[in-house]
Amino acid sequence: MTTIETPIHITNELDHWEPKIITFLCNWCSYAGADLAGVSRIQYPPNIRIVRVPCSGRISPYYLLKSLQVGWDGVLISGCHPGDCHYLSGNLVARRRFAVLKDLLDFFGIEPGRVNFSWVSAAEGERFAKIVRKVVKKIQKLGPIKKLVKENPFQPNKCEAQ
């Protein structure tokens, strides 16, 4: 089913909140980079969930907005470094799109830091881990997402009286 599901929040006994971050990685560089981090046993926080996409150019703004809407606390997007795209220019066109989206989200008041972008190559397992650490720290500071999240239908007809 083509839709983004709500993250399952696992809260421990102390009710300690941990951010859940959805991560879109391009198949050719960043996914391999994350894989390298794994096989090299580089530690990074377990807050991210990875979605593999063919190219960073494939990432539609819908993915990001839907993710935030269903309650993911943050988004991380990563693709090949400029010039390294498997499809030559997918990441460069995507870069423009991300720039606009980033600016618009800032403009609408979504906290800068919820949505993050990076370039990670297949050889940069260490870099991937470092970026994940940085992003997780950033979002931990921001706290759970409140804006753009859909209303809970178990409080029925809240927007009833127009």
Binding site: E5, T6, V70, G71, K150, E151, N152, P153, F154, P156, N157, C159, E160, A161, Q162
Partner: protein, 349 residues
């Protein structure tokens, strides 16, 4: 009971008394948009408006987004929670609606209880509501209620009516429900005779101030022969195909039923306003769209109100509030269109 009269500044106290027994809904301004809402603070009520509100009070009984039931999915099991069975604790008093809007509630009731199936969501709310109309001392140039059987001081379909006499209000009741409300206001004096005479006079003036007079007669019979007329293309030429005329029409009642998921296990089935003016409204799963042309959608709107309503329920489906005229971005004017429809008759017969 005799009508009560009270000073304008007493209004909030009156509402306070009513609030002991009822939930109060009234017109409020949000930004520049006048809409009806449940009042938490009575000073928010805004009664000095001319003509109808931008968002019709139908949104109280037929909200734009209404939860039909909520669901929980548990492995292979499903739990549904019916919300129509939850009765409100208090009856609601819908305060300050225009007489045309009061009529629209009655028209919607006709529709929602027509036929084999009754719409519990609308009817339950309707039965648990008391309608207090606000008589129109002044009218807008787009008002044409008198052409469709209404009146700026129309008493039908209101339980009570509030009349603005400049410095004070007179509250009069027309029904049993209204009497019950009025009886809670014993501390206020009965309206003196001269007030009642004044009402008559203002009513006459208001009626005269309506400049649009359409002789609709048996328009539904005439429309029946106009299906393929050229005028529909003319009416719809500039139409954007936005849904404003019908979303904000107090008698339009079409809706869509969708499932709104909060997460993979929880969500609700909701209904949201929909409109025949959107091309996608009639588009079938196969891709075929029986009402694909813009002119067909313009025709549907007029036919629904002036042919299908009279044929099915014996009343016109328009209350003459003029919202669609004021709010149409392209200034499509239903008065103009109806007048042109009438002209076609003289041309063919």
């Amino acid at each position: 009971m005799n009508p009560k009269s009270f000073e304008k500044r007493e209004l909030q106290n009156v509402l306070q008394i009513l609030a002991e027994n009822y939930d109060i809904v009234g017109p409020v301004k949000e930004g520049n948009v006048l809409k009806y809402k449940k009042l938490d603070k009575f000073e928010d009520i805004y009664l000095d408006f001319v003509g109808p509100s931008a968002i019709p009070p139908k949104s109280i009984l037929f909200p734009q987004r209404e939860v039909l039931f909520t669901y929980e999915l548990e492995n292979k099991d499903v739990k549904l929670h019916d919300l129509s069975q939850q009765k409100p604790a208090k009856i609601q008093v819908i305060f300050g609606i225009r007489p045309c809007d009061a009529k629209s509630f009655a028209l919607l009731k006709l529709f929602f209880e027509w036929g084999k199936y009754k719409d519990a969501y609308y009817l339950e709310k309707f039965n648990n509501s008391i309608f207090v109309s606000l008589a129109c001392n002044n009218t807008k140039s787009t008002c044409f209620c008198t052409s469709v059987g209404g009146d700026p001081f129309g008493k039908e379909n209101s339980d009570l009516q509030l009349v603005d006499l400049g410095k004070k209000y007179v509250l009069r009741s027309f029904t049993q429900k209204g009497e019950a409300v009025l009886s809670t206001l014993k501390k206020y004096a009965d309206a003196p005779k001269e007030d009642l005479q004044k009402i008559e006079q203002i009513n006459n003036d208001a009626r005269k101030s309506i400049k649009t007079h359409l002789e609709l007669g048996k328009i539904h019979e005439q429309l029946a022969n106009m299906w393929d007329d050229k005028i529909w293309a003319k009416f719809s030429a500039a139409c954007l195909g936005c849904g404003s005329c019908s979303f904000l029409c107090p008698t339009c009642h079409c809706f869509d039923v969708i499932d709104d998921r909060t997460d993979e296990r929880h969500g609700a089935r909701i209904r949201v306003w929909d409109t025949c003016q959107f091309p996608i409204f009639t588009k079938q799963g196969s891709g075929f769209n029986p009402r694909d042309a813009k002119l067909a959608r313009a025709r549907q709107r007029i036919f629904h109100k002036f042919n299908y309503y009279p044929t099915n329920y014996g009343v016109l489906g328009c209350v003459g509030c003029g919202r669609c005229i004021c709010l149409c971005p392209m200034n499509s004017d239903i008065r103009d269109e109806l007048a042109k429809v009438k002209e076609v008759k003289t041309a063919t017969t």
